[in-house]
Symmetry: C2
DNA sequence: TCCGATCTGGTCAAAACTGAACACATTTGT
DNA sequence: ACAAATGTGTTCAGTTTTGACCAGATCGGA
């Protein structure tokens, strides 16, 4: 990962991918925000006034059930943003969103992004492509939660966070992990013990240190790698080689 | 349901919501297609040349894993379409898509929809709003698979299909259900037995008849109602759309 | 009408996960 | 330095789920 991740901690890949004209219009509206670990950025059902672009931070999207339990369905790092659907259309978040890793983050008023989305095909492509990739992350999570063991899922989760934590110890208790993974604490403790005994991680009282990343990747299910690959790739043009389709050329409408 | 579902079987709510000018341009390109139950409309990773708009049919989106197992992450009836992300941007489907209920369906070439998406804000709003709702369905499924019992999930699934099957018996074997739900056949058989003994369903050899719909709703988890509500609402303007969680629901049957 | 394929339900044994409770260790705040 | 709060590992006793396998029922095609 080091290779691809050298970008400094004050950039967001989605913002950086904007065409210069859009970026120039958006830039003046960007404001750095800083949230503490665990803070709720937005409640489920809440109205959104800004979209959030993590630079070093990581956000987590949760689905909240009637009984108050909540489970992670996706997370967002500096490859993406929270609130794009709101910016594209809805203004309302179906999810609770919380800060899972502290770090740099900027926000941008919804209306500014709406205007760009309306006027720039390039921006639309970016937002839509990111949204599709986010959808695929959630879909992978459906499969993962149903078909993979707690241990595999935990590895996957640790790897995702490790990619973004710059070698820091991950600040999570077993209890917290159990909520994210939708399992119970006992299962997490067992998986954690097993990983620690295998020399892959070391932890104590809410700090998890990744010791053997390669090892973790081996124990993890495939879901980690698949999702990572998609997020690494989503900015590239889609299936360009297809014959006969020139989507770049705006054909006149029905004339 | 009867109220909202009386629309005839040759309409698709998403198509019907298009503004007249768009609809007029799109209509000449629509072609009815008819697929048999269980047919794969598109493989995971496949290139899409059309979007599909079910009228009476139901499509299922599956995430396929390396070992060949596949699990349902969402389904699409006549409130929506398959291939909209392709139409908006990507042309490639991350999912396998298969026919889960036979019925009317029309398709439309991607390029036609792309043009509309590019030129009409109204069309963009429709497609984006639907996509967001689809995302929320998948997110609900993440929570459901992780936190609800096989019996609850099966009720939810049967209800979703029953809404669309016009009173027909549902043509599914336990084995098939087990794949959709990501559990094993035995668990499905147990849940099915329990539901049958409670007088909620009756089945034999791949035909499941819903006997007591209300009862099923009581036993189902909340996920059914939440997702249904969102799909019923997504065409309304965002200010009024339903965002959050609804009232309490179901206890498990004791068996 | 019979054969073969399919579907369901049952057994059995094992594994995985759950839930509550509690002791101990470590950290934090005073 | 001490008390309180927090995190982890364990126990025990449950339930749920899994996987393999087979018997009987039923259906459809030859």
């Amino acid at each position: 990962m080091p290779k691809a991740e050298v970008a400094d901690l004050t950039s967001n890949r989605l913002l950086d991918a904007l065409e210069p004209a859009s970026r120039k219009r958006i830039d003046p509206h960007l404001r750095p925000v800083s949230f503490k670990l665990g803070v709720t950025v937005c409640e489920a059902g809440g109205l959104l006034r800004h979209a959030y672009f993590p630079q070093g931070a990581v956000l987590s999207l949760l689905t909240v059930l009637e009984d108050g339990s909540a489970i992670e369905t996706a997370n967002i790092g500096r490859e993406g943003a929270f609130g794009l659907f709101a910016a594209m259309y809805s203004r309302v978040s179906f999810n609770r969103c919380l800060v899972q890793l502290e770090g740099g983050m900027v926000r941008c008023p919804i209306e500014v992004l709406q205007t760009e989305f309306r006027n720039s095909e390039h921006v639309r492509d970016l937002f839509v492509s990111y949204s599709e990739t986010l959808l695929s992350q959630v879909q992978q999570t459906v499969a993962c939660n149903a078909l993979h063991s707690t241990e595999e899922r935990m590895c996957r989760w640790l790897l995702m966070m490790h990619d973004r934590a710059e070698g820091e110890a991950l600040p999570y208790t077993h209890e917290f992990l159990s909520h994210m993974l939708g399992t119970n604490r006992k299962s997490v403790t067992l998986a954690a013990l097993s990983l620690q005994r295998a020399g892959l991680i070391r932890y104590s009282r809410g700090k998890i240190q990744i010791v053997d990343r390669r090892g973790l990747e081996r124990v993890s299910c495939e879901c980690y790698a698949i999702v990572k690959k998609r997020f690494d790739a989503f900015l590239k043009p889609p299936a360009t080689a297809v014959a006969g389709n020139s989507r770049r050329r705006g054909k006149p409408l029905s004339s």
